[in-house]
């Protein structure tokens, strides 16, 4: 039992931090542009595929830097030459634009790398068990993923709270016009934030690629969870996104490792019921419903606290 708790907590925090790498960019972009970037998870996927390709050419470590840079540059181009022009036509147009972009990126990835998973492997230096607890070998690469996420989280916090650029970004989140009147180029700040946000998603892609599966459907698999994180945390709230990321990371990893069903808790159904549809529900384990849980949480939050845990907006 203790083993389950320790390992699941580690995995949960790890998954949560990965989610936060993506959710942080998404929520900040939402605050600034007022629109959900449906293509955000696609940059995570781009990160993974760029990481895979660059790893093959020059190794994993340069890929860890180059892939996010490349994805960030594409993000900047998307904002500068796409979103900025679409912005004039209102939020619906922007939403449709990012929606279309997500499909376009997926198609391009499929054309280049195909539909089946690519062989993106953990680098040899990190391919060993970091430690063994309760006879489980915990891979060093997962500890590395955790380290990267924590370092990025702390640097993000430091930049936002302590630097002039960070202060300008904070001010522009709520008062973009006033920031412009004080002589700051808000358009450039938005572009920068979009670039950094997409680069962060790509970092998540590079480090998650070898540990999970690098495949052209990975954006579609992760995208919905990302929206759950951002809505549960409160749209536009960075601390909210952090809490929600960890919550959902832990919720999902714990849920998949719990093999309890009503049947195992309360005993088998009365033989008279055992042949009916009720027995299906009675025998479902928590692990089986785990994928649904985040969405259940989303529905509950939308009903009881529509602005999210730490959000301020009503919509």
């Amino acid at each position: 039992m203790l083993e389950l708790i320790v390992i699941s907590s580690l995995n949960g925090i790890l998954f949560g931090m990965l989610l936060f790498l993506m959710a942080s960019g998404l929520t900040v972009i939402f605050s600034m542009l007022g629109v959900l970037n449906f293509a955000h998870a696609s940059f995570y996927m781009l990160g993974a595929f760029f990481g895979f390709q660059i790893s093959r050419w020059v190794g994993f470590w340069p890929a860890l830097v180059l892939a996010p840079l490349l994805a960030g540059l594409i993000g900047i181009a998307v904002e500068r030459y796409g979103l900025r022009h679409v912005h004039k036509n209102g939020h619906v147009a922007e939403l449709l634009f990012t929606f279309g972009l997500a499909f376009a990126i997926e198609e391009v990835v499929q054309i280049i790398w195909g539909k089946s998973p690519v062989d993106f492997r953990v680098p040899a230096v990190l391919d060993f068990p970091a430690f063994t607890i309760f006879s489980t070998n915990y891979p060093a690469f997962k500890m590395f993923m955790l380290l990267v996420s924590v370092v990025i989280f702390l640097s993000l916090l430091l930049v936002l709270k302590k630097t002039r650029v960070g202060l300008i970004v904070q001010a522009a989140l709520t008062h973009p016009h006033m920031v412009a009147h004080l002589g700051h180029n808000v358009g450039r700040i938005f572009m920068l934030v979009f670039g950094v946000g997409t680069a962060l998603a790509a970092v998540a892609g590079v480090i998650a690629g070898p540990a999970l599966v690098t495949q052209s459907n990975m954006a579609a698999l992760l995208g919905p969870i990302l929206f759950v994180v951002v809505v549960v945390g409160g749209l536009g709230s960075l601390p909210g996104a952090f809490i929600a990321s960890l919550m959902i990371g832990l919720l999902q990893t714990f849920a998949v490792s719990i093999n309890t069903s009503p049947a195992s808790l309360f005993g088998p159904l009365d033989p008279a019921w055992a042949t009916t549809w009720l027995s299906d529900i009675w025998n479902v384990t928590v692990a089986q419903v785990a994928p649904v849980l985040p969405y259940l949480l989303l529905v509950l939050v939308l009903i009881f606290r529509p602005m999210g845990l730490l959000g301020t907006r009503e919509t």
């Binding site: 001010a171 006033m178 009147h181 700051h184």
Partner: protein
Amino acid sequence: MMLEVNNLHAYYGKSHILQGVDMKIGAGEVVSLLGRNGVGRSTTVKAIMGEVPPHGSIRFKGTEIAGLPSYKIAHLGLGYVPENRDIFPGLTVRQNLMLGIKNPRHPGKWRLDDMLDMFSNLKARADTAAGVLSGGEKQMLTICRTLMGDPELVMIDEPTEGLAPIIVQQVGDLIAEIARRGVSILLVEQKLSIAMRISHRVYVMGHGQIVFEGTPSELKDNEAIRKEWLEV
């Protein structure tokens, strides 16, 4: 000439708000733009700052600025204090003031410490979140924040609205001090008190146009204008 506005038009959707505004402000001059609510005073300054698309000519120190983005206009030396006291509530008073500086490598003549010394209540709260300040303190902060960018002309929109008479007096003193330091001022006001006390010249607006231009004493003597365009 600091600012020259010629035949300025502006629209909100299909509504024709500014219908040919002409205005001039000289170096070191304090000018007030008066008029009732809804006649287009705020729209005039917003159009000058590029927040509302301007149609017509706006020259600042000889440079045509109509159509430039706000941040470029600010960099030319035009400061704007909007009427809604847009402080950054999550940042501290000190951080708010720091964001007023356009280029940290070339700070202007207004220093952060001077500013805090001038207003003891801002100094006492320098490191608290600006969101908890009173209305008067927020007004002082927005004006000071704009000054940190070292503007040559400041446009201040309704600085005394909703403030207690004693605070109105303080805001008036601050504006007089800004003028004394050689900064030109365009004051947008509905009330006459401060405007008549510190202005060199006044404009009165009605229905999107300038309907009177003169000195405060000329306005005082012109009962017809006051009755038709200012008194409620």
